[in-house]
Symmetry: C2
Subunit: 134 residues, 2 copies
């Protein structure tokens, strides 16, 4: 059902300030930047093998990521698994009683289809599933 | 330098209580369990593609993971990148001024060579590098 750790989401105060550690020190390639207004974030993707690191910075103080940063500081924010068929996966999860933040997929970064599971159903871990555009 | 997101480490109170979500709901395969006394944890590995999820539960109240749980609750604990040559990678990171928790590798789960970077040098993210035994 889950084919890959698609990405790890890391909350940062500001993308530009966070990038040099990833590009210069870890020598990861920055492959994409995008403002995802619906999620209230600016995001940057850095490839690691077939997966990536997703840096996310808040667009404003009322966003979820701003609240996360205020409470916990910068750091690991969510884990995302890649799936082949996000609608089928959501159906399976819902049938298993998983509480979903998104009952149907929405469009995420790079036009992927994404959906979040509620941390209450996933051991405290904010969990995303992603079906990339191929 | 980093070939893969080798694993995501997730802190849990108790492995047995945490496993059903991963095995039954996410349908990941449990491939390994081990007590890593040096790190004060019981650990379980669940494969996701070529990487895995590493559940870690504290062996006692004075362990780092117990303190993490007391402060932040269960959730994302660290990210680990796979490398081909851990000594060379540590040398490169040290030369770049990265603060290391482990200046030389130690033996981790499944006899892998592992080393941790200090979160102060890695944007608040506890970061591990891993050279698996092939």
């Amino acid at each position: 059902m889950l084919s890959l750790i698609d990405h790890v989401g890391i909350a940062v105060e500001e993308i530009d300030a966070a990038l040099p550690y990833y590009t210069n020190t870890l020598k990861l390639e920055l492959v994409h930047r995008e403002t995802v207004a619906e999620q209230g974030v600016e995001a940057a993707l850095l490839d690691v093998g077939d997966g990536h690191i997703e840096l996310i910075a808040p667009l404003g103080p009322e966003t979820g990521v701003a609240k996360f940063l205020a409470k916990r500081g910068p750091g690991l924010h969510h884990v995302a698994y890649r799936v082949e068929n996000i609608e089928a996966t959501l159906g399976t999860l819902a049938a298993d009683g998983v509480r979903l933040i998104d009952e149907s997929p929405r469009i995420g970064i790079r036009n992927s289809k994404v959906a979040f599971l509620h941390p209450a159903s996933s051991g405290g871990v904010l969990t995303e599933i992603v079906q990339p555009v191929h």
